[in-house]
Symmetry: C2
Subunit: 385 residues, 2 copies
């Protein structure tokens, strides 16, 4: 096991009816800005439920945070915060709304050009406004971590930042709020959580027994319950397990003391920025090809993955690894998520532009060994055609 | 899954050399009381290392917190805190020193009879002094939770309390500090962590998929690595895994959203209070008999435990359950921990006094169904002869 620091002060309220906890969580004299994505929180009644729970508090809304939240939109929210006396932010939505709210919380108190927050990967954040979240879409884990990803449209740049100042104070997770999600979003959420887990698990062994078992448990849960979540949308227990698995995949627990990869995410971000593909779908495209490209350096963990997660006990190590990667790709396809660039109309001629963006963002030494240079990224993308 | 709240703000620094982090964690102008158990932190050099890391800070020591820390001793520490201008507490030791420090932190600021803290199970705690811990003995998980168990010798009462005010601000976990522990203490720690896990896992199913997989991962880790930890005391990786498994077993993660038992602990506490048996040994005595006594109501989880943790795939459900309980008991014995009352000189004639203490402490409806009354406790104790 590697040395680590673990810290996660977010308070989670999980279950049916937990939105009513907001009254005890938001200061009673707060002026609250509720940040929202599209229209779904309004259409489903979740927004009304949130406002009812906030009781006498003065509430303003900021609507229109996009999937892959943009700097351009978020800076409008920052301006609205500064123009008012809002002193508490409440994200109501999925990972994009929560990521966006983290940026707003930090940018509202940042002295200087707020894009510095992104180019410093969060290192320049010295403070942030207090905020909480009401999660409606299980996927990113943003509701219980300090990270955020923001896209600057004008630069076609999608970058992550992290700061100890941008943990939500609390997050409310009510699985019934996921009942109305389109199947596409549930599938995306399952794949997102799955790949968050593999980024922290499929590297090289450091004998971190607990973290490995936990990661395997999350993958097994997603494999078992992901298809059920799509088949029976109003099965509370299944939705609860998917929701908690997604949060658990990126709350720091499985990543403590182990090497981490994240190359799939960094390459995937460029696919979203240039081709507007759903985040989870970019991961489903990149991961199988990346695992095939790196299977020699990842072999020990891939064999463990094959045996423990997929129950593949026979064959040579190479056969186990190949079977596990194929089953992973088949699992994504079984959820209705296509895993080839060509399924999204992307061909070999598009790869140079993707590599150019990776270069521009400094993504030239990715992976747990920092060995995925632009030439490796090219091979991974070629392998994903 | 049941509704739950999860909150754990303790900052963990894990690994070799992490004691030097203390300088950044304790306020630079703090007057620090270091709380200690016996002589081991002094003898092994850990205390010197702690003092060196605390640099210029004014440090006083409080020595002599016992295994099963007593109210009587802890009130001396409270008096010493009040008589000085100590404003930060630092526990250096195992779970007893940390539990004791939690009580001191709360009692020093409590207005009234400090024993109220115990009889209210912590409900009356409104504030506590800030404190951190340097863990030297992996077992109780106290380093990353808000609970504590204190014994009042004069009453032969051993009671737990919990409060959101008594989370350590930070805990330093350096596995090398466990190298010098006697084998007996490592064995106790493995059993303690094991039974913490079963208390939160061996109840009835609520389809909490992640929590179940996590609990099974902890049990598998303890079964695999516990014997190795005793055989090769200076194997860093094994000691690291045992240490992190013990912390993870009681930091709230596996217990969120699931029913919990804790009857083994409550019955075990009386064995310690009346007969001075090591805490972990009381658990090893009570658990197998309790599982046999409650196997009908716990059957579904016991079958899952047999299959997933012990790999018992053949036979009827009853045969699987019986085999799993036997293997559990054998596992404890294999660590050198005796599992029968008679091994500790306790016979049938001692049982009435134990039941009388359980009654006195209100422990008359124990377990996840509150169905273990004094008659059931009698049968469990009779079964453990």
């Amino acid at each position: 096991m590697q040395n680590f620091e673990f810290y996660n002060p977010t308070r989670v309220f999980f279950g049916k009816g937990q939105i009513e906890q907001l009254d005890g969580l938001v200061p009673s004299d707060a002026k609250v800005m509720v940040l929202l994505g599209g229209n779904s929180a309004r259409a489903t009644g979740t927004l009304d439920e949130v406002k009812a729970a906030l009781k006498q508090r003065d509430v303003v809304e900021f609507n229109g945070i996009e999937p892959n939240p943009t700097y351009e939109t978020l800076m409008e929210a920052v301006a609205a915060v500064k123009a008012s006396n809002v002193d508490f932010l409440l994200a109501v939505g999925g990972g994009s709304v929560i990521d966006g709210t983290k940026f707003v919380a930090a940018a509202a108190l940042y002295d200087g050009d707020a894009w510095d927050i992104m180019t410093s990967f969060g290192a320049k954040v010295q403070a942030a406004m207090p905020f909480g979240t009401v999660l409606t879409l299980p996927a990113t884990g943003s509701e219980m971590n300090k990270g955020s990803v923001v896209t600057r449209k004008s630069l076609k740049s999608k970058l992550p930042f992290m700061s100890n100042h941008t943990f939500p104070q609390f997050s409310v997770l009510d699985p019934t709020k996921t009942y109305t999600l389109p199947a596409r979003q549930i599938a995306n959420g399952v794949v997102d959580a799955f790949v968050h887990t593999t980024e922290q698990y499929l590297t090289y062994p450091v004998n971190a027994a607990v973290q490995d078992r936990y990661a395997e448990g999350l993958l097994q849960t997603l494999i078992e319950q992901g298809p059920q979540a799509m088949a029976t949308p109003e099965d509370y227990e299944i939705r609860a397990n998917i929701m908690w698995a997604a949060t658990s995949a990126l709350n720091g627990t499985i990543g403590a003391g182990v090497p981490q990869d994240w190359a799939t995410h960094m390459i995937g971000h460029e696919l979203t920025a240039l081709h507007d593909i759903d985040h989870a779908r970019t991961l489903a495209i990149v991961l199988p090809s990346l695992l095939r490209h790196t299977k020699e350096t990842k072999k020990a963990k891939l064999v463990q993955y094959a045996e423990r997660v997929w129950g593949i006990k026979t064959g040579s190590d190479d056969e186990k690894v190949d079977a596990a990667i194929n089953q992973t790709q088949d699992f994504f396809e079984s959820l209705g998520i296509r895993t080839r660039l060509k399924d999204y109309g992307i061909g070999e001629s598009d790869i140079d532009a993707l590599l150019s963006q990776l270069g521009k963002h400094g993504m030239v030494a990715l992976g747990e060994h920092q060995s995925i240079d632009l030439e490796s990224s090219r091979k991974i993308l070629l392998g994903a055609r």
